[in-house]
């Protein structure tokens, strides 16, 4: 069944060829990794702690340079001043504590030189769309952990990025908040169809969120499995999905791949 709800893909495509990272001192973080990601796809990357999945994400973001290999992005169709191709969400919200929610969300636009009235208008519109408008005047210290993370995501989305990179964004939250944010993020992707790369160590979260799940081995990381979750799961991901047999089957398969990929596995 192909649901009509998906809007056309708006993201950028990614092509990695032989991307490899060695830390100074000779510690190999990743094997050479080659990978193609379609525009508008939602890809989750799972792997054991410290396997280099965050490093891979940071390389794609341009925060770190690969020791070898190339990364190419398909060119963006958008070109207005407020647009940035890449947005990155960290493990914690990392908001500026002296700014209100609205001013935090407007920050990327401010740094891009967008005029005050325009960026406030744009940020407020986004906050309304993601259901955070009533928090606009609050300071981060007045928010819950989940609210802070949502503001952080809104800040990432304000530049209409083609590529959204998230590094275990909900790992510090409690299970219920985390599931709510998963649903919320999935909804956001549904509406906007940017390309999403989501790093997590939770198999359930990866399965619930992603169209495609990549499983990395322990360090040095290589891709040990590449599953098309969208082939088995519906496009509309609701809370009840977590209890379904298909969901359980898929997480079990991924769990197998994850343990098979560990050094010392039989």
């Amino acid at each position: 069944m192909n649901p009509p709800a998906l809007s056309p893909a708006g993201g950028t495509g990614l092509r990695l060829r032989g991307v490899q990272k060695t830390f100074p001192g000779g510690v190999r973080v990743t094997e050479p990794i080659s990978l193609d990601i379609d525009p508008g796809d939602f890809v989750a990357i799972i792997g054991p702690s410290g396997c280099g999945k965050s490093t891979l994400l940071r390389i794609i973001a341009g925060l770190e340079t690969p020791t070898a290999g190339t990364i190419t992005r398909s060119p963006s169709a958008k070109s207005d001043q407020s647009h940035r191709e890449i947005a990155y969400v960290f493990q914690d919200a990392h908001l500026l504590p002296w700014r209100t929610v609205l001013a935090n969300v407007a920050l990327p636009l401010e740094l891009a030189g967008v005029s005050r009235s325009k960026r406030d208008e744009k940020s407020a519109a986004l906050l309304r769309q993601v259901g955070l408008l009533e928090l606009a005047g609050r300071y981060p210290s007045q928010l819950s952990g989940g609210q802070r993370m949502r503001v952080s995501l809104a800040r990432a989305m304000v530049t209409s990025p083609d590529l959204l990179l998230l590094d275990e964004p909900f790992a510090a939250l409690d299970e219920i908040t985390r599931q709510q944010l998963d649903e919320w993020l999935r909804q956001l992707w549904h509406e906007r169809r940017m390309t999403v790369l989501f790093v997590t160590h939770s198999i359930q979260e990866a399965t619930f969120l992603a169209e495609r799940v990549l499983v990395l081995s322990g360090r040095p990381a290589r891709i040990v499995a590449d599953e098309r979750a969208s082939a088995q799961l519906p496009a509309e991901r609701t809370a009840s999905l977590r209890g379904s047999a298909t969901f359980a089957g898929l997480t079990h398969t991924l769990y197998q791949r994850l343990t098979d990929g560990q050094p010392g596995a039989a």
Partner: protein
């Protein structure tokens, strides 16, 4: 409510008991009044008609404030330079420490030679005495910028000026205020040391009172200087609380 009342009353009780004790000791003749002036005499010195204490206070206050202003301006600029570039830091930082170790009393005579007025001597002495905590605390604050936020600014291609103004300086603000609180008291001390050597202000008042054995007047001058330093400290504290009230733990309570 009750603890708050006690917090105000108890220090006042201590003060009253100490004053009463000194007053009593001097009245009994146990201590000579030129050794330890009784509080009533200090109060009389403060209210003496035509006393030069208030003119002295005014001069010292102006010079201390001016020197403090110089400290804040130059101290922060130096700290920003230190935090902006590793080579600048290595080249300058040892000399910044010099401001902390230099005995202000020893170089005050040089300041008299280098400057063209009493006011300048005193203001520069106040500045030298108070600049190091401004540099050290501002630098510490700037150097502790959240690395993830620094990366965020880099991702959005913010230039060094925007990063300094919108991220690093606000981030350093609590630390900067710590530096300013320390510097405020030091500026008053520096100003009075400058006055002992260069003349003017409460320093001169004390110098003039010494040969006359007017210890009551010296005490009055010391009280005034302390009160001024305290007032400066409180003003900075209020500004700090107002500017940090939304976001920093130090501004709560």
């Amino acid at each position: 409510m009750k603890t708050k009342t006690f917090a105000i009353i108890l220090p006042l009780v201590t003060f009253a008991v100490a004053c009463g004790l000194v007053e009593w000791l001097v009245a009994r003749g146990a201590v000579a009044d030129y050794i330890l002036p009784p509080p009533s005499q200090v109060f009389r010195a403060l209210t003496e008609p035509g006393t030069d204490l208030y003119r002295g206070l005014w001069q010292t206050t102006l010079a201390a404030l001016f020197g403090f202003g110089l400290s804040v301006a130059f101290g922060m600029l130096i700290a920003i330079a230190l935090a902006s570039n590793r080579f600048v830091k290595q080249a300058i930082y040892p000399y910044a420490i010099f401001f902390q170790t230099v005995p202000i009393i020893a170089i005050a005579p040089m300041l008299v030679i280098w400057t063209s007025s009493q006011f300048q001597t005193v203001a520069i002495a106040a500045c030298i005495a108070s600049i190091f905590p401004v540099i050290a605390n501002t630098y510490a604050g700037l150097a502790s910028t959240d690395p993830a936020l620094a990366e965020l600014f880099r991702l959005y291609r913010a230039g060094p000026v925007a990063t300094m103004l919108k991220l690093r300086l606000p981030w350093a603000l609590p630390s900067i205020f710590t530096g300013l609180r320390v510097a405020a008291g030091l500026a008053v001390i520096g100003a009075m040391v400058g006055e002992f050597v260069g003349g003017g202000g409460l320093g001169s008042v004390i110098e003039g009172a010494k040969p006359l054995l007017r210890n009551d007047k010296i005490f009055a001058a010391v009280l005034m200087a302390s009160a001024m330093g305290l007032a400066l400290f409180l003003i900075i504290d209020i500004v700090a609380r107002l500017s940090l009230r939304h976001w920093h733990a130090s501004a709560k309570n």
